[in-house]
Symmetry: C2
Subunit: 347 residues, 2 copies
């Protein structure tokens, strides 16, 4: 079945190349499909509003490590990851369905923990878990989540609406989830070498929490509504800002100019990055899994957002198509290169 004489390695294409290559043959044929592949969600024409549909996979050993990922947190994160894509379209998530592949090392109590986390997340985000598929798995834990939501037709925001001169804004702070993962993996290595050693995670509570319990930014969508600001483009930060800028720029036909000094980075992220001999700004740009919202707004909206403590203007859209530049604190310029799976395992 696998003809090695004519074999192209997937890794050679990268995630974005693969998806683009595979999806090129799929034309939208159904009149109800308003927008297919290419944004955080598919957009379905439901008459007086748009329906939003998205799916994500979380696989053991790739997206999580059960030796340090508590199941309740993992359940919460699964829902968060799913609804985050709905928020990235300026919509509200209403329903989720979950597929679970469980190996027999899972007890009922373990599955209950996973579901308890999902339930807390469903209540927090105001979504209903409305169905699923549970099956045995011969390998690790498999979690698939699909979310459905809705948005008024005149409120939908795509990746591709940024205009030259628009301000580039990000919610919250960046790089914490990635540094949290580095800490957890380090403590795991220490534990495997010296099993009597107790992990000391207290001083890393913020970044470890950012990794273990991702928080989709429903509140940002609610705040934007209150402020009467409709972003011109938006995406959620799952793979890292560098990747997301690549997507937004490509879809919008623009580039972005980012100021290093503006990148919002928590002190704990900075300290930990330096301990690991990493540049905090590079961590913030490439880290991924922050599940913040990255968006652009017209300059006329600056007055409305400038005093919001959770929003940071980090740059602006330029006319250099698909080329994203970082202006460093020392006033140098570097091109921001997008990473994607398989270089990173984030998704």
């Amino acid at each position: 079945m696998f003809d090695n004489s004519d074999r192209t390695e997937i890794g050679a294409m990268g995630e974005f190349g693969l998806i683009q290559h595979l999806s090129q043959h799929f034309e939208v044929k159904n009149s109800k499909t308003f927008k297919g592949i290419g944004d955080d969600c598919a957009v379905i024409d439901c008459g007086d509003h748009f329906g939003l549909l998205t799916t994500d996979l979380l696989l053991e050993g790739v997206h999580f490590d059960l030796s340090f990922h508590p199941l309740k947190h993992l359940g919460y994160k699964a829902i968060s990851v799913a609804v985050s894509d709905i928020y990235a379209m300026n919509g509200m998530a209403d329903q989720v369905v979950v597929g679970l592949g469980l190996s027999n090392r899972f007890s009922l109590e373990a599955v209950e923990e996973l579901y308890a986390g999902m339930q807390i997340a469903c209540e927090h985000f105001g979504v209903d878990l409305v169905g699923g598929d549970t099956t045995t798995s011969q390998s690790g834990l498999v979690i698939s989540m699909s979310a459905y939501g809705r948005v008024a037709k005149d409120k939908i925001v795509y990746r591709g609406g940024a205009q030259v001169g628009d301000l580039l804004v990000v919610s919250g702070d960046l790089g914490g989830a990635y540094m949290g993962l580095q800490i957890l993996e380090r403590e795991k290595r220490v534990f495997l070498e010296v099993p009597t050693m107790q992990p000391d995670l207290e001083q890393y509570d913020y970044i470890v929490g950012r990794q273990l319990k991702a928080e989709a930014r429903k509140d940002v969508i609610e705040l934007l509504k209150i402020l009467d600001v409709k972003p011109t483009s938006m995406i959620d930060v799952s793979d890292g800002v560098a990747s997301e800028l690549h997507h937004m720029g490509k879809a919008s036909g623009c580039g972005f100019h980012v100021y290093e000094e503006k990148l919002p980075i928590d002190p704990q992220t900075i300290d930990t990055a330096l301990t690991f001999d990493l540049n905090p700004s590079i961590v913030a740009l490439n880290g991924g899994e922050d599940y913040e919202l990255l968006f652009t707004v017209g300059q006329e909206d600056y007055e409305k957002i400038k005093t919001m403590p959770d929003f940071t203007v980090i740059g602006y859209a330029t006319d250099v198509t698909s080329k994203n530049m970082l202006r460093t604190k020392s006033d140098n310029q570097f091109e921001i290169k997008a990473q994607g799976w398989p270089d990173s395992q984030k998704d």
Copy 2:
């Protein structure tokens, strides 16, 4: 994390018990959720119509074996399995999203084969593949599919609408997919023992095709519309008729009486079952993966369906709640027991 002192094995509960146990904590809270867990699809109130949402997981080693499951067929089957749940609500599928977990033994050409099968299925069923998530997998191939569809509010059919006296009808024939799997597994064993032996599948083409290339019955929904017949209850045959009767009876508050002599079984299925020392009727009732539609209609609709060659009336609904009986050809009666995962690996 796994506290073995207070451990309940999932296998002890069975699939249905597990799902019921876990979903009991999830209340529907969102006004847009018309119906949550408990049918082939979740039902979303979209104003002038209902939206239908369903998800399925296909895992390597559980649902398919890549040593005999061609990737193109598998892609077709994945879409078929997803849309089948939409048809079981008397709806039409419009969109699917697919999550793929790929190990590095997959070449680009292999993934293209999988997608080619999906594309053929999408065209056949008139659905758009509108999004997905592609990631690395450290174990086998993971395919998650979610489908979205719609149905007029007055046309939706649930599992729970069967009335005592209604006729029990099934489309197509039963047990073929299961016997096809037995053949494929037998030929694999032979091949592993004697690698020079070429598998002889020609005489089993029908049942092998039933296993490898599942066909969701969109045509049945279209035919019911033409006949102006709205079933009182409906479900798709994924786990086997015995399981589906259990679900329908429980949801409807009735039982079913099935006539063995009426069970539609292809001669190839019968011959193969007998070769394997299996009772063809038991195979038809428990086989699973046929993806036919099992439904009930009021007796007044009998005239409309009786001449349809693809529909077979196999029994009727009784007032014995949740108890399903088989009347054998020799005029004995046996209770039909529902099987579910983990006894069977079908889903």
